[in-house]
Symmetry: C2
Subunit: 301 residues, 2 copies
């Protein structure tokens, strides 16, 4: 008899309505993902990691792009209520107040590289350790006149990297006069930064000998512009990035490796465990990046 129903279902092409089931069970088996944007390999890699883990655990991923504006972010997150069981939120450009306001209290969330991690489960890249590693490497190989191409102001990662660049340089190079140029984390701003250096006459031989970009994409932009300007890398100027996106390996960029795929996967793992186990693990898990030395920082010798 159960068999007869099944047969009829097949015959009529019946497919269960997941939405109705979710309503009834108060369980969607979906995870909402809130990201600034999908540009470049940085976010692709994270999403890939999340997708791998979500699929493995029987969850779907619901994507939503967050605009920089806190009000819009609020709308984006609220619109997820009832569609997902939990949220992975990456909002590096939101301040703590904006984040608190945007996050619906009712829905469990894990933050990645955002402020206000103390009270919630979170993942955080150790930006200071990463910058300390590249600066240390550059200084150890004899570079002294360093330039930093920064991330956007107000962005947690950008701010931390800029600050620790200044601190580390001040601590390791006496009488250093580090230069900090603004950037947006996008390739073009790496090129723009080099253009600025040229204007200031800092591309002249010996004026500067190392560029520490706040992420890989800007480092690549800088590389392109330097080569176009006829500056030898690493002969004249060494260049470093941050993240170790796949492209970096192909282009021989010295950088700091953050296991993006693993970070995404781990965020999903923690969220799902929380959803299913009920364990509230409000710790901030640090991701320690690792220095990867490639050709853009070889000794000039």
């Amino acid at each position: 008899m159960r068999a007869r129903v099944q047969a009829a279902a097949k015959l009529l092409g019946y497919v269960p309505h997941a939405g109705a089931r979710s309503l009834s069970m108060a369980r969607t088996h979906a995870i909402g993902v809130i990201l600034p944007d999908l540009h470049g390999e940085f976010f692709s890699e994270i999403v890939r990691g999340m997708d791998r883990e979500a699929t493995a655990r029987g969850y779907h991923l619901l994507l939503s792009n967050m605009h920089a504006d806190a009000a819009l972010a609020t709308v984006a997150m609220r619109s997820m209520r009832g569609r997902v069981d939990g949220l992975v939120v990456m909002a590096p450009q939101l301040d703590a107040a904006g984040l608190d306001e945007a996050l619906p209290g009712v829905i469990p969330a894990i933050l990645i590289n955002s402020l206000r991690e103390a009270a919630r489960p979170a993942m955080r890249v150790d930006n200071r350790a990463g910058i300390a590693a590249v600066v240390g490497h550059l200084v150890a190989s004899g570079r002294r006149r360093l330039v930093h191409i920064a991330g956007p102001t107000g962005n947690v990662d950008g701010d931390e990297r800029r600050e620790s660049f200044l601190e580390t340089v001040a601590a390791s190079v006496p009488d250093a006069r580090p230069v900090v140029l603004p950037g947006t984390f996008r390739e073009e701003s790496g090129e723009a930064a080099v253009a600025t250096l040229a204007e200031r006459g800092l591309l002249a031989p010996g004026a500067i000998d190392g560029i520490v970009a706040a992420n890989d994409m800007m480092a690549l932009g800088a590389l392109t512009a330097l080569r176009a300007a006829g500056v030898a890398v690493p002969g004249g100027i060494a260049v470093t990035g941050f993240d170790d996106i796949p492209l970096a390996r192909y282009l021989g960029l010295t950088t700091v490796r953050v296991d993006l795929v693993e970070m995404g996967a781990r965020a999903v793992t923690r969220l799902v465990e929380r959803l299913e186990g009920g364990v509230a693990d409000d710790r901030t898990e640090g991701i320690v990046p690792e220095l990867v030395i490639r050709t853009t920082t070889e000794s000039p010798a």
Copy 2:
């Protein structure tokens, strides 16, 4: 009074339950995306295009990875009923019967690079035109002994590219004895293919002079392996890819450009128009790829 309710809602932190609303309105404002896997830049780019368009039109994207198996694909698609308003399906490895069986008849779908497009809205890259363009370019620059690193058998794109490679070579090079090596669309299989060539003694100077890979990732793998083997590119052997993923530009790979972002965006556009306008546009839209000549095919001279 309406105001009093709104006030109370704010105060209690009420957030509407999108799931319940969907049930009631029979509208989810979500689009399901079924992909083989998220590996490499190929799929990232497509998803990026879909996301851009979906966000612009007020839709969310629900990701689901399809396993090669038709039965699992069926489960994946069925599980989307009631969660999404429509589907973008990319199933290059499914045969027509498998696809028909997997697709829930009830839910509108648009296919990308899959079989059985005739009866449904679809997008399709013109593989033959793309391969004809690269082969033509290689032949025009004096290459005669060509090797093809193929995509997986049973994959629509892989099969089409392999076939048209053979046809085009047969038509344009008299007495040609083209070699076809198996591949998986992944970087490692490009390296493996070169290893195979080495075993067969085909890496000796003059033995072959051009490698046409079925996609960019395999071309990159081949490039790496060739350089490691001390073979000059393009001096000894020219190399071409397919897709023009972002990496290709950085590495100077000659390839065939498929506007992946645009293809994803266009698929979403057509689907949404269908959902909202009710117009059933069952045509297959062809994407004509464009030859992009870079350094890996420069003339040996």
